[in-house]
C-alpha cells in the first residue's frame, strides 16, 4: 500500500466512478479530471470493482465482525460480516458510522505537543522526536506510571501495555470508561463470581426463550451488543415454539427494548432487586412451575414485602403473582439483569438476585437460558474491565504525585467520570500526560503530548469476544483495510520501540512489531472453522474470514453454584432528600451516541433517537402529567439539579416514563471531541456523584434524585415525530 499516494485514490476516476460533486450544470471540473493510476497496481484491486476486507468493529467492545467495501483505495461502506458468530452479517448504526472516525475532519493528523495544558495550541512534532520524548519520560518514570485504557483499545494493545506495566513494576492498566460503567460490566462480572465462582459475562439465549423478564436490560438498544441481541430477538419473534413469546420489561422509562416488550412495567428506579426477590418468594410460596422449581425457589428466596414490590411496579399483588406464575410455568423462561441495576448502590447484589430467577428455573447452559462463555484456547482472554475501586486507586496515586507519566488510550476519563471523581485535579498532579486518541477529546486537551494511534480501520488488532454470543468462543481479527489516512502511528509499535530501550521492559516485549506479536498469539490457536493445517494458512484465513472460532459451539456444563441460600439486598438509598429533590433521575446511554463517542460523528448526531425522534440535542423526558403540574411543555429549557450539580436541558413530554422520574440520555455535552460534539447539549454525568457502590464495582449513577426549575428560555426540539396522517376515519393497523 506504500506505493500509491492519497491523490491516487482521489483521482483514479473513470466513467461511473467519478466522485466529483455535481454543481449546477457545469461539468467543467469533471472534464479535466486527471488520471493518476497506480505506480504498482495492487493485485486484488481493479478500478470500479469493490474489494471487501474483513475486520472487527471497535465502536464498542462487543467485537462484531465487519467487512469494509474498498473502492479505488477508499473505504466507502462498512457492513456486518455474514460469517461472524457475534453479529451474523448485521451491524448497528454506531458500527456503520465508524467510517466517519476514519475520515473525521478533526482527527489529530500527527504527533503533537501542547506547551500549555488546555490551551488547545498543538505544535506538530516529528514522530522520531515524539517517540524519543516518550522514551525519556517513561524511563525516568520507571514504575511511577499510570495506564488508562478503554473499550476502543484492542486486546493486543491491552496485553502489551499489561506486560509493560508488569515488567517495570507498575500496577496493571486500568480498563474503564463510561461505556463499561454504563453497561455495568464489572457489577455483572462480580455478581456472577459471587454466584458461580467464575467472573464471566454470560449471554442470554433470547432466540430460544419463550418468556423473558428483563430487568432494566436495554439489550435491543445499548446493552452489551444490540446487534447480537437484535439478531436473537428477530429469531425470538419468529416463534421457535410455534407461539409468540412474552417479553416483559421492567424499567422506569421505556427503552427500545421496552417498546418491543409485550408488557412494559414502569418499575420504581432501584426496586428491581426487590421485585425479583418478590417473584422468587411468590414462586416458592405458591408452588408455581412444579415442585422442582418451587423447591429451588424456597431455598433461594429471601424475605420480602410483596405489597411494596407490587407497588414499586404500579400493580396489584395479584398481577405480580400472575407474572411470577407465567415465569415459573414457562418452558424456557429467562431473566436478564441489565445495566441500570449496576448503577445503584447495591448493584452487584441486585444483579445476583435477578440471576437467581434463572437458577430457580433451571435455565443454566440450556437452550433459551443463560450461557456461560467457553474457554478460548491458547491462553487468549478478553481484558477484564476494572472495578471502580481500581479506578479510584489510580486517581489516588495521581493525586499523591505517584504517577509521573499517564498514558491514555481508548478512554476519555475527564468525560467518562462525574466531576466529583476529581479526574481533572488528579491530572494536574501528573508530570506528563500522553493521549493516543484520534481526536482531541476532553482528556487530550489536558495532555502534553498527542501520539495518535491508527484508528481501527487502519490498524491491526484482535478482540477476544466477550460475552461469547451463541456460546461460541471467538477471536475476531482486525487488520488495516486502508492505508493510514494521516501521519499516525500504531501505539503498539510505538510502545514496542520505546520498550526496547528500557532494560526492565526489553525482555518482556521482544517483538519487532505488533504484527509479529499478534501472529504469534493467533497461530497458537488450534484449527477452527476456517481450517488450515499450516500456521501460515491459519493466519491468512484468520484475516480473510474475520477471525477464529470453532465449527460448532463446544457447549459448557452448568457451573457449580457457589450461592446456596438467599441473597440479601441492601435497600437502595438515594442521593438527595425527597422533599428537596422530588424526582428520580434515570440516566441512560444514548442509542446512537453510546457513551458519548458517537457525538463526534455526524451520521450519529443527525439520526433520530428511536423513542423521542430527537437529534443533535439533549432533552429531559418528563411524563406529560408531571409536565403539566410543573407548567412545562415541549421545548421549554429547564434546569435539572441534583445534590451534585445541574444541567440545562430541553423538555420532552414523554408518555412512557414514571411521573416521578426524569430521564436524560448520556452522550452530549462535550467541551471538545471535534466540531460535531463541541458545545452541544449537556453532559448528564454532572448530576451524579462519584461514590462507589457497596462492592466497589461501579460509581453510583442510578440512585440520584433531582429537582426541576423552569428557565425563561425555549429551544425548539430537532425532532421528526410522526408525519403520516392517515386521516380521522382510517385505522392504520400497526
Amino acid at each position: 500500500m506504500t506505493n500509491f499516494t492519497r491523490r491516487d485514490f482521489l483521482k483514479v476516476g473513470a466513467a461511473g466512478t467519478a466522485t466529483a460533486i455535481l454543481a449546477g450544470c457545469s461539468q467543467e471540473s469533471e472534464r479535466w479530471v486527471t488520471l493518476e493510476p497506480y505506480v504498482r497496481a495492487p493485485e486484488e484491486q481493479l478500478a470500479g470493482i469493490p474489494s471487501w476486507y474483513a475486520s472487527t468493529c471497535r465502536m464498542c467492545p462487543a467485537g462484531c465482525g465487519i467487512i469494509v467495501r474498498i473502492m479505488n483505495g477508499r473505504a466507502v461502506k462498512i457492513e456486518g460480516n455474514p460469517e461472524h458468530p457475534v453479529n451474523r452479517g448485521k451491524l448497528c448504526a454506531r458500527g456503520q458510522a465508524g467510517l466517519q472516525l476514519l475520515y473525521n475532519p478533526d482527527r489529530v493528523t500527527g504527533a503533537a505537543r501542547q506547551e500549555e495544558r488546555g490551551s488547545r495550541k498543538f505544535k506538530a512534532v516529528a514522530w522520531n522526536e515524539a517517540i524519543n520524548t516518550l522514551y525519556e519520560k517513561l524511563s525516568a518514570a520507571g514504575s511511577a506510571i499510570g495506564i488508562w485504557l478503554g473499550s476502543s483499545t484492542s486486546a493486543h494493545l491491552h496485553d502489551l501495555f499489561a506486560r509493560y506495566a508488569e515488567a517495570v513494576g507498575a500496577p496493571p492498566p486500568v480498563y474503564y470508561d463510561l461505556y463499561t460503567g454504563l453497561n455495568g460490566y464489572r457489577a455483572l462480572l462480580d455478581a456472577n463470581a459471587a454466584l458461580f465462582g467464575q467472573a464471566a459475562l454470560p449471554t442470554y439465549n433470547v432466540a430460544r426463550a419463550d418468556v423473558i423478564f428483563s430487568f432494566g436490560a436495554d439489550f435491543l438498544g445499548t446493552w452489551l451488543s444490540a446487534t447480537a441481541y437484535g439478531v436473537e430477538f428477530g429469531q425470538f419473534r419468529d416463534q421457535p415454539y410455534g407461539k409468540r413469546g412474552l417479553l416483559v420489561q421492567f424499567e422506569p422509562k421505556m427503552s427500545v427494548t421496552g417498546a418491543k416488550a409485550d408488557r412494559w412495567v414502569p418499575i420504581r428506579p432501584g426496586a428491581e432487586a426487590l421485585v425479583a426477590q418478590a417473584l422468587l418468594r411468590l414462586i416458592a410460596d405458591e408452588g408455581y412451575g412444579g415442585s422442582e422449581r418451587a423447591e429451588r425457589a424456597a431455598r433461594l428466596a429471601g424475605d420480602v414485602d410483596l405489597d411494596e414490590a407490587a407497588a414499586a411496579c404500579e400493580m396489584t399483588r395479584e398481577e405480580l403473582a400472575t407474572l411470577a406464575r407465567l415465569f415459573a410455568e414457562a418452558q424456557h423462561p429467562l431473566a436478564i439483569p441489565g445495566a441500570a441495576l449496576a448503577g445503584t448502590g447495591n448493584g452487584t447484589q441486585a444483579v445476583a438476585v435477578v440471576q437467581l430467577l434463572n437458577i430457580v428455573a433451571g435455565m443454566l447452559s440450556v437452550p433459551g437460558g443463560v450461557q456461560f462463555p467457553p474457554e478460548v484456547p491458547a491462553g487468549l482472554t478478553a481484558p477484564q474491565p476494572s472495578s471502580y475501586a481500581e479506578v479510584q486507586a489510580l486517581l489516588e496515586r495521581m493525586k499523591a504525585g505517584e504517577v509521573r507519566a499517564l498514558l491514555v488510550h481508548g478512554a476519555n476519563p475527564v468525560y467518562d467520570l462525574p466531576p466529583e471523581a476529581g479526574v481533572v485535579e488528579a491530572l494536574q498532579r501528573v508530570e506528563t500526560i500522553v493521549s493516543f486518541n484520534p481526536l482531541v477529546d476532553e482528556t487530550a486537551v489536558l495532555a502534553d503530548y498527542l501520539l495518535p494511534d491508527r484508528v481501527y480501520l487502519e490498524g491491526w488488532g484482535y478482540t477476544v469476544v466477550q460475552p461469547a454470543f451463541g456460546g461460541m468462543p471467538a477471536v475476531s481479527s482486525q487488520q488495516p483495510v486502508v492505508g493510514p489516512f494521516h501521519d499516525v502511528r500504531s501505539t503498539a509499535d510505538v510502545l514496542l520501540t520505546v520498550a526496547r530501550g528500557i532494560p526492565a521492559a526489553a525482555a518482556a516485549l521482544p517483538w519487532t512489531d505488533e504484527v509479529a506479536f499478534i501472529k504469534e498469539r493467533i497461530t497458537a490457536l488450534p484449527k477452527g472453522a476456517q481450517g488450515g493445517e499450516d500456521a501460515e494458512v491459519r493466519w491468512a484465513r484468520f484475516l480473510q474470514h474475520g477471525g477464529w472460532w470453532p465449527e460448532t459451539a463446544p457447549g459448557s456444563a452448568p457451573p457449580e453454584l457457589a450461592a446456596q441460600g438467599p441473597i440479601g439486598v441492601l435497600p437502595t438509598t438515594y442521593d438527595g432528600d425527597e422533599a428537596d429533590y422530588p424526582f428520580y433521575l434515570h440516566l441512560y446511554p444514548s442509542v446512537l451516541l453510546g457513551d458519548g463517542r458517537g457525538a463526534s460523528l455526524p451520521w450519529l448526531q443527525s439520526a433520530p433517537d428511536p423513542l423521542t425522534t430527537v437529534a443533535w440535542q439533549t432533552w429531559a423526558e418528563i411524563n406529560p402529567v408531571t409536565a403539566e403540574a410543573l407548567g412545562l411543555k415541549d421545548g421549554d429549557v429547564v434546569r435539572v439539579a441534583s445534590p451534585h450539580g445541574a444541567v440545562e436541558v430541553i423538555v420532552y413530554e414523554f408518555p412512557a416514563i414514571r411521573p416521578d422520574t426524569i430521564a436524560i440520555p448520556v452522550g452530549q455535552g462535550h467541551s471538545d471531541s471535534g466540531r460535531y460534539a463541541r458545545e452541544r447539549g449537556a453532559h448528564a454525568l454532572q448530576l451524579v456523584g462519584a461514590a462507589a457502590d457497596e462492592a466497589g464495582a461501579n460509581f453510583t449513577w442510578a440512585n440520584v434524585r433531582v429537582k426541576i426549575t423552569k428557565t425563561e428560555r425555549q429551544q425548539a426540539l430537532a425532532r421528526l415525530e410522526s408525519t403520516i396522517d392517515p386521516g380521522p376515519d382510517v385505522h392504520v393497523p400497526f
Binding site: 506505493n3 500509491f4 499516494t5 491523490r7 491516487d8 483514479v12 476516476g13 473513470a14 466513467a15 461511473g16 466512478t17 467519478a18 466522485t19 466529483a20 460533486i21 455535481l22 457545469s26 461539468q27 467543467e28 469533471e30 472534464r31 479535466w32 479530471v33 486527471t34 488520471l35 493518476e36 493510476p37 497506480y38 505506480v39 504498482r40 497496481a41 481493479l46 478500478a47 470500479g48 470493482i49
Partner: protein, 178 residues
C-alpha cells in the same frame, strides 16, 4: 422601443453592462461546450496507441478491467515498465516514463472520454454483448494521440440501445442514471 440616443448615461451604462454580460455568458457556455467535446490537451507522455496496436498488443492487455467491471482502467507504471525496461529504452519519451518509475510517481494522464457524474457506464456489459471497442472509441489503434472522436452523448447511447433485441430493458433510465 426607445432609441439608444434617448437613453440616459446611466441607462446606457446598464445596457452596456448587460450586453457585455450576455456576451461573456455566451462565450463561457461555448467554452464549456467546446471543452466537453474537444480533445484533451497535451498528455504528460507522447503515448501512441498506434505503435502499440501495430505491435499486436490487444486493448485488454493494458485496459485490464474492461471485461470484468465498469471501468476499463489505465495501466500502472509498473505495467509499462514490464516491457520498457528492455524496449526502446533510448527513446526520450521512454526515458520520461523511466523517470516516473524511478521517482515512484504515478503518470498524470488526462482523461480523454468523460461522462458526467450522473451517468453510469459499465464496460463489461458492453464487452459481454459483443460491442467492439471501436464502436465507441473510434479507430484508436490508428491514433497516435487518443481523441474522443465519437461524441458520447445520450443520443449516441440510445441510438444503439434502440437497435437491440431487449430494447425495452435497455431504454430504462436506471440503466445509466442512478
Amino acid at each position: 422601443m426607445r432609441r439608444l440616443a434617448s437613453l440616459s448615461l446611466r441607462q446606457r451604462l446598464i445596457l452596456g453592462v448587460a450586453v457585455v454580460g450576455a456576451g461573456a455568458l455566451l462565450v463561457a457556455l461555448l467554452a464549456i461546450v467546446i471543452a466537453q467535446t474537444s480533445a484533451a490537451d497535451e498528455q504528460p507522455l507522447a503515448f501512441s496507441h498506434k505503435t502499440h496496436a501495430q505491435n499486436g498488443i490487444q486493448c485488454q492487455f493494458c485496459h485490464t478491467g474492461v471485461a470484468k467491471g465498469p471501468v476499463a482502467g489505465i495501466p500502472s507504471v509498473e505495467k509499462c515498465m514490464g516491457c520498457h525496461t528492455y524496449i526502446a529504452t533510448d527513446s526520450p519519451e521512454i526515458q520520461k516514463l523511466q523517470g516516473y518509475w524511478e521517482r515512484q510517481e504515478p503518470i498524470p494522464w488526462k482523461r480523454v472520454n468523460i461522462q458526467p457524474s450522473y451517468v453510469y457506464f459499465n464496460h463489461s456489459s458492453h464487452v459481454a454483448a459483443g460491442v467492439s471497442c471501436g464502436s465507441c472509441h473510434g479507430a484508436v489503434a490508428e491514433m497516435t494521440v487518443a481523441k474522443p472522436v465519437v461524441e458520447m452523448n445520450m443520443g449516441f447511447c440510445l441510438d444503439c440501445h434502440a437497435e437491440q433485441e431487449n430494447k425495452d430493458a435497455l431504454w430504462d433510465c436506471t440503466v445509466c442514471h442512478r
